[in-house]
């Protein structure tokens, strides 16, 4: 690593936030440590989201995400910039996740989907658009409840729904990083949307009803 690297760090922090990834990649390929650090900063949130969406094991996400960037650093001289840096990085992340799951011989963590009546009622309020969660805390609680329901889906359906609808990846991005046809992604997404509602109603619907009965009895 270049000993003079820290001198390059300031311009990126102050005035060159809009420097293109391509330029940062070129500098990184020439051994600039601050340029690569800037690339890490720019893409860490998406890589984190991608790894979290695939692994579904919160404790290991940070470690795997760090490993992704380490591999990117070690391989950046071989990156020819024909694809976008983000696409190349996301492919490393997906491969790293599968390697991790294979080496550790672990399946993504399966949550217990048993929700309380109050929790089911909260999700019902969102489904019916009556009580959408307001604020980051309420949305984080919703995420936690939803993760339990999503865990009941087939793995690929869960990953696609989480990455597309929660983490904000586009269909095009998902097709590229998962090596799928764009239309295949759309079909799988459409079917997965139906499946999650089927599971939600089948597994948790009885609680929603049982929650409704006392409420009606109270009125009477």
């Amino acid at each position: 690593m270049a000993a003079s690297a820290p001198a390059l760090a300031l311009p990126f922090r102050q005035g060159e936030k809009k420097a293109e990834d391509r330029e940062l990649v070129r500098l990184s390929q020439n051994g600039s440590e601050p340029a690569f650090e800037e690339l890490v900063r720019r893409h860490q949130q998406r890589v984190f989201a991608l790894v979290a969406g695939i692994l579904h094991r919160p404790d290991d996400v940070e470690d795997v995400a760090q490993q992704v960037f380490l591999k990117a650093y070690l391989g950046i001289k071989r990156f020819d910039q024909r694809a976008a840096f983000s696409t190349w990085l996301y492919k490393i992340a997906v491969n790293e996740c599968w390697d991790y799951l294979r080496k550790r011989k672990v399946r993504p963590l399966v949550y217990e989907a048993d929700l309380s009546e109050e929790q089911v009622s909260r999700l019902d309020g969102i489904v019916s658009s009556e009580r959408p969660p307001v604020g980051a805390n309420a949305r984080a609680e919703t995420r936690e409840l939803l993760d339990r329901v999503l865990a009941l889906l087939p793995e690929q359906d869960r990953q696609l729904l989480v990455l597309k609808e929660i983490e904000g990846f586009s269909v095009q991005e998902l097709a590229e990083i998962l090596h799928l046809n764009v239309n295949t992604v759309k079909v799988r997404l459409f079917r997965a949307r139906g499946r999650i509602m089927d599971i939600y109603r089948r597994r948790l619907g009885s609680k929603a009803k049982s929650h409704a009965v006392p409420a009606e009895a109270e009125k009477e």
């Binding site: 949130q45 919703t142 079909v187 139906g194």
Partner: protein
């Protein structure tokens, strides 16, 4: 007549179109095509209704948080550590060869020194001491007798011997 799969997710031929319809990513022409189909197909209407509900649920969830500025620093620290390990392992790779080289050099030097020492000792023992063995020349000593070369010298020798007696 709709199949079981179609009753769950709508008509297979329209799945891509309906996914785009849900995301409002259709051209005016395709949007009309989707609307016309939905007006005619109860299975697809139900599928879109389910998909809409699940989309509301999913979009209400908080995305994964940004890991923060410490994350980038930790990544860079890990990179430096990996680079150091790599450099150390590169040095370790040559270490056995270097060690072997030094041992070989030391052994060769020792063997050479031993050989030179032994050779010098052997030469010392086997070579006669010229200084000690050189005869001392006595200039006053009589000339050593030599064999007579002619008959006259023989007669002279016999006469000398008789005269001495």
């Amino acid at each position: 007549m709709t199949t079981d799969a179609e009753s769950r997710s709508g008509c297979q031929a329209y799945e891509v179109l309906l996914e785009d319809y849900l995301n409002a990513e259709l051209s005016a022409e395709d949007a009309k095509l989707a609307a016309d189909h939905l007006a005619d197909c109860a299975a697809c209407r139900a599928a879109v209704k389910r998909a809409n509900a699940s989309t509301r649920l999913l979009r209400a969830a908080e995305p994964s948080p940004d890991p923060g500025p410490a994350f980038a620093r930790m990544v860079m620290a890990r990179i430096r550590s990996a680079e150091n390990e790599k450099a150390a392992s590169r040095a370790n790779f040559w270490q056995p060869f270097v060690s072997l080289g030094w041992r070989f050099a030391a052994t060769a030097t020792f063997a050479l020194a031993a050989l030179v020492t032994y050779n010098a000792g052997w030469l010392h023992r086997s070579q006669p001491n010229v200084a000690l063995q050189r005869p001392t020349v006595d200039i006053f000593a009589p000339e050593p007798a030599r064999a007579p070369a002619t008959g006259g010298e023989v007669l002279m020798m016999v006469a000398d011997t008789g005269h001495e007696k």
